[in-house]
């Protein structure tokens, strides 16, 4: 029965861990927005303004743009 017991405890602790992580994430989301580090809501515009020529919402540092920068 040892493994069953272990399973029970693992389930219990992982559920707690997940709840803590998830709710920690909620706190993180709101706090970083309050501090002005991030603006999550503007990311919603990625779907609306999705022309290939339009400026990225979250300005990119991908390889492509670095190349552009060099020019």
């Amino acid at each position: 029965m040892g493994i069953r017991e272990l399973q029970g405890y693992a389930t219990f602790f992982m559920t707690i861990v997940f709840v803590v992580i998830l709710y920690g994430y909620i706190v993180y989301l709101y706090r970083s927005e309050k501090k002005g580090e991030k603006d999550y809501e503007k990311l919603g515009n990625i779907a609306l303004d999705d022309e290939i020529t339009s400026t990225p919402i979250n300005s990119s540092n991908s390889i492509l743009d670095e190349k552009k920068g060099e020019k």
């Binding site: 493994i3 069953r4 992982m14």
Partner: protein, 229 residues
């Protein structure tokens, strides 16, 4: 920590994978060893029964019939003792089904006979008036693939240590030597049947699908583990 996860698609993917993999690990693994032990006295399926199981799979009986009797009085009254995990130890794959358009079959061998099955597979309405099950007349002429069934027996014996006798071995020669045993078993069932084509085919050394299927159905229930004690 969260910033880092959001920024990097690779670590994000790893995170997602860990979350979904862990749940499976905790849910499934601990039951594994325990659930695979057979109940005492259970014998593996014979080659003919395995061929019948293939017919059961091929014509997909599982679409309408379960093989899982739940521990409720209404079910044990209707179908017999409830099912035990160890009874399925030699079932690869498991054939519990998920829908009962027709009745459960886990103990059908206890209360149905070869003649009944023969009539039923030929014309379900003739034994169960009002039945919506289709007739499976093609099973009376199609030949069951006993060689593949034998190959399966060899495989589960060698790889999964299913307790078959020493006469089940890999290779064409061993199969040729074993073949008469399967045919003898088939003749026994055919002798209780009345369909002439079936009898002729068995005489000619071929096993019609319906014979294999009936062998399999008869094995479901007590016959497979009380007999050999």
């Amino acid at each position: 920590m969260f910033h880092w996860l959001e920024k990097n698609p690779f670590f994000f993917a790893v995170g997602v994978f860990l979350v979904i993999a862990f749940a499976g690990l905790v849910e499934i693994l601990p039951n594994f060893a325990e659930a695979s032990r057979p109940v005492t006295g259970l014998r593996p399926y014979t080659v003919l029964e395995l061929a019948g199981k293939e017919v059961y799979k091929k014509d997909n009986c599982i679409a309408c019939h379960s093989q899982l009797i739940r521990p409720f009085k209404s079910e044990t009254d209707r179908y017999g003792e409830y099912s035990l995990s160890g009874e399925y130890a030699y079932d690869r794959p498991f054939l519990w089904g998920s829908k009962r358009t027709g009745p459960d079959l886990h103990r059908v061998g206890n209360y149905r006979t070869t003649e009944w099955h023969e009539n039923h597979m030929w014309q379900p309405n003739s034994v169960v008036p009002g039945s919506i099950m289709p007739a499976y007349k093609h099973q009376f002429t199609n030949v069951a693939d006993i060689e593949t069934a034998y190959a399966e027996a060899v495989t589960v014996k060698n790889i999964f240590k299913t307790p078959y006798g020493d006469d089940i071995k890999a290779g064409k020669k061993a199969w040729e030597a074993y073949r008469p045993k399967v045919l003898a078993e088939a003749r026994k069932i055919a002798s209780q049947m009345k369909n002439k084509d079936v009898k002729d085919m068995v005489k000619a050394g071929k096993v019609p699908e319906v014979v294999a299927l009936i062998a399999y159905l008869n094995s479901l229930g007590a016959k497979r583990y009380n007999a050999k004690k």
